[in-house]
Symmetry: C2
Subunit: 495 residues, 2 copies
């Protein structure tokens, strides 16, 4: 049974202990971010003995004088004051506390002693405490941005625990531009009481979470941690980015969070055994998240690749083999469709090289034939989206050389181009639903990040280079096989 952290992540009211009007202080920007994120102003109680109002809200001199016992207290006051504040919280009936304050165990012996007092106090008073030394928490579905970074996320179904506030906050920032939706985030800080496993456990039971991300530097009780992960992976995918992979990195992690990184081989084996999907870099984690959220898990390792030009087909073939995947055989029906639509010298093999064929109907028909083929587990479309852009730009330039184009006709032209792409993506979504196989798009024409996100629409995945697609698919397949080995293949995939 996971710990109930609902009052942490869905508080109906919040005391901001240490709230401040001074811009560079955590007590200021935590409050600012909270208000900017849309949390109801009337449910925020700044606590500061020296001010009567903070950022436009009435301030209270201490916790005792609050008009109610809020669900959550967020503390930014100096470390030495924190144990006393926990006592005040308990006296008022506040049982959930996020301790943002730093200068605890991360700064040496004196801090470690103080953290021990914090732990004893919290245990004695039966308080639920996040941190200390945490970047804060987010619940994008409840407009809760009690976090030291100016992010505002797209509400979604991904939840994220990070053992580094910086890594966590920066990655949240990246998602803002990558069209990835979030549910909850927590920087676990020094993990004096609640650890990464507690958050993973909670996210595992959380109805608003369908996918879990974890940035890890080290865990204390490896066996229990992996049990939690394994239990959770049966319900929803858990993607981990584990640093301290090298001896040097392990030492750096030790110096950063005091965590014993342990041998990376052991971690790696444990992650595999427990079903966690390990990402290699920070950006990979987000690409994996997007793909797992939007695509069905591939039923097997055989890719059908369609390419507008041979070169990308070769690079994609390399990537396929290097990711441990196979090129699917083209069955008779696929060959028949290709024979019908392509010139006689078509590649007669996988990748299917369209040799610059620009007719969307050709792309649609071959995509459909591949996804329907019993020989194919996953389809990769290289350059199909871009054809529209490239032809469009050429026609456009050509037209504008010959005649003036009105703004209206220009707009109409681009709408038509976008329509072409949307038609392809919409059909892919239907086919994915029908056949339970992923269709992945790789768009090598530069069409701008914003346009790419716009086309994805939060429902498909478009990569910008073929090398990544194969790696992502191989990791999704590994997860599916783990689920199968546990007799639980369909429970967590959106098919």
């Amino acid at each position: 049974m996971a710990r109930d952290l609902d009052k942490i992540f869905k508080p109906r009211s919040i005391a901001m202990v240490g709230a401040s009007n001074v811009p560079a202080k955590w007590g200021s920007f935590l409050l600012v971010n909270l208000l900017a994120g849309g949390y109801p102003r009337e449910k925020v109680y700044p606590v500061n003995p020296r001010e009567s109002a903070i950022h436009g809200l009435p301030a209270y001199p201490d916790i005792a004088s609050l008009p109610e016992a809020p669900d959550l207290a967020i503390v930014t006051t100096p470390a030495v004051t924190v144990p006393g504040i926990l006592e005040e919280c308990a006296a008022k009936g506040v049982t959930n506390v996020v301790v943002i304050s730093s200068n605890f165990s991360e700064v040496g012996e004196e801090g470690a002693r103080l953290e021990k007092v914090l732990v004893e106090t919290a245990r004695r008073l039966d308080l639920t405490v996040v941190g200390p030394n945490t970047m804060g928490i987010v619940n994008a579905r409840h407009s809760l941005y009690a976090v030291g970074a100016p992010v505002q996320l797209r509400p979604g179904h991904i939840s994220f625990v990070s053992q580094s506030g910086n890594v966590g906050a920066n990655m949240l920032g990246w998602t803002m531009n990558q069209g990835i939706g979030f549910s909850k985030f927590v920087g676990s800080g020094n993990e004096a009481l609640l650890g990464a496993a507690d958050y993973i456990d909670y996210f595992g039971e959380d109805d608003e979470t369908e996918l879990i991300l974890a940035y890890l530097e080290g865990v204390d009780d490896g066996r229990s941690f992996m049990q939690t992960v394994s239990r959770t992976c049966l319900k929803k995918p858990v993607i981990v980015l584990k640093s301290g992979r090298t001896e040097e990195g392990g030492k750096a992690a030790m110096s950063h969070t005091g965590s014993l990184a342990g041998s990376d081989h052991i971690y790696d084996a444990a992650f595999r055994q427990s079903g966690a999907i390990r990402s290699e870099t920070s950006q990979d984690m987000l690409d994996l998240a997007k793909s797992l959220e939007r695509l069905p898990l591939p039923p097997g390792d055989r890719l059908g690749i369609v390419t507008l030009g041979g070169g990308w087909g070769v690079l994609a073939t390399d990537a396929t083999a290097m990711a441990g995947l196979k090129l699917a055989k083209l069955d008779e029906e696929v060959a028949r469709v290709c024979d019908e639509l392509l010139p006689p010298f078509w590649s007669h093999g996988n990748p299917v090289d369209l040799v610059g064929n620009i007719y969307m109907d050709t792309h649609l028909a071959i995509m459909e034939a591949l996804v329907k083929s019993p020989e194919v587990d996953c389809v990769v479309m290289l350059g199909s989206l871009g054809t529209g852009t490239m032809i469009g730009l050429n026609v456009l330039v050509s037209q504008s050389l010959i005649m003036e184009m009105s703004e209206e006709s220009l707009k109409g032209f681009f709408t038509e181009l976008k329509g072409r792409n949307l038609r392809l993506l919409a059909r892919a979504k239907e086919l994915m639903r029908e056949h339970g196989k992923p269709i992945v798009f790789v768009e090598m024409q530069f069409i701008g990040d914003e346009n790419l996100r716009d086309l994805e629409g939060g429902e498909t995945v478009i990569f910008t280079a073929p090398e990544k697609a194969a790696w992502i698919i191989s990791r999704m397949l590994r997860y599916r096989r783990w689920l199968e080995s546990k007799g639980a293949v369909t429970c967590s995939t959106r098919q």
Copy 2:
């Protein structure tokens, strides 16, 4: 001695044989791209027997009737007509021809026969021929865009030969958004006469080229190719992306360009021996290019890392070790500077963890101390640029909650933030020049691609995640060591 391709890449006039008004035809969009790219209209001669004007230019019925013998003919007519056109060219005195037309050896036996005729004709008439089946050529420094892709590049010093037109054209497109400047591009097509080695050789002697990129699927005469590469690498860096790395990829390459990929291990060893820098993915090639163009080569393998937060420091440490690089020891002077500027519990080791310290003077002083240290060969700054953005956004949100901000004061605020970042980058540039060591920035706050390019200004390199920086530096170091082994270390680096 390299072949003289000046008339190919710097033609004073061009015949467009097969020019067309029909938008979807190559004869149309080649011409459209050429004119849109700014090539002088009066120096372009469309040749088409059925039209009197093409895209606003007077058309000529055949090559014989052209008013002069142009430096270059670009041919887009059907394959069977090409040998005859070569004869016409020679008769008129046109000795340089780019054959865009496809349906030669890439489509089977009949095409191969035709290609043989093309080769014999060209040799007999002593013509210099690019292609056939090429995407075309670009010279961004001479407004020459005789290419089947709607690109317009930033003029620069990088030249690129690609054995896949698609891969080449798409990658050129990417550079438009990545602030990377180009000199020349050629899709080598079927390489009936001129091969990748010829272009590399030419670029090697070209004053307008400082760095060479090559996308390769296979080369016929490996030994002679590697000799060309090795000779060129002594003068300027050559970055190769070689596909067909796997058996499957090799087969795909065979089917695409008919080239024998050969064993990848042999290629890999040959590239190392010849000094070529091998990139792993298409995007890596551009990141390498940018870095080699803008940064001095690292004199050794010891990185000094500065990080705003511990987590990124751990990830960067992993990346350092995985790339075969080392963390530098902090000498007394560096320690003294850190003791002076950071709280007593600072990491006392490398990475130097600034624990969220936001004072630009601190970042500047520690960067300077590291680059000056004899223990350090390269400096990596994680998050230093972003501090401005993050603080700025927080202050901004805070201000806007308290009072209305005029558009003018908002603008002033962002100018100030940008000034902060520019100050850091400007100092880094000075220090790089002074000490001949690279300083690399990694910016994890999402500040938008455009802003990133704007800050880079074509003179520094800003990565968006730390994992890539270490890999790039390791490849730059490998090249430097190769140069050293040849006694030629300083000849090609811009220090």
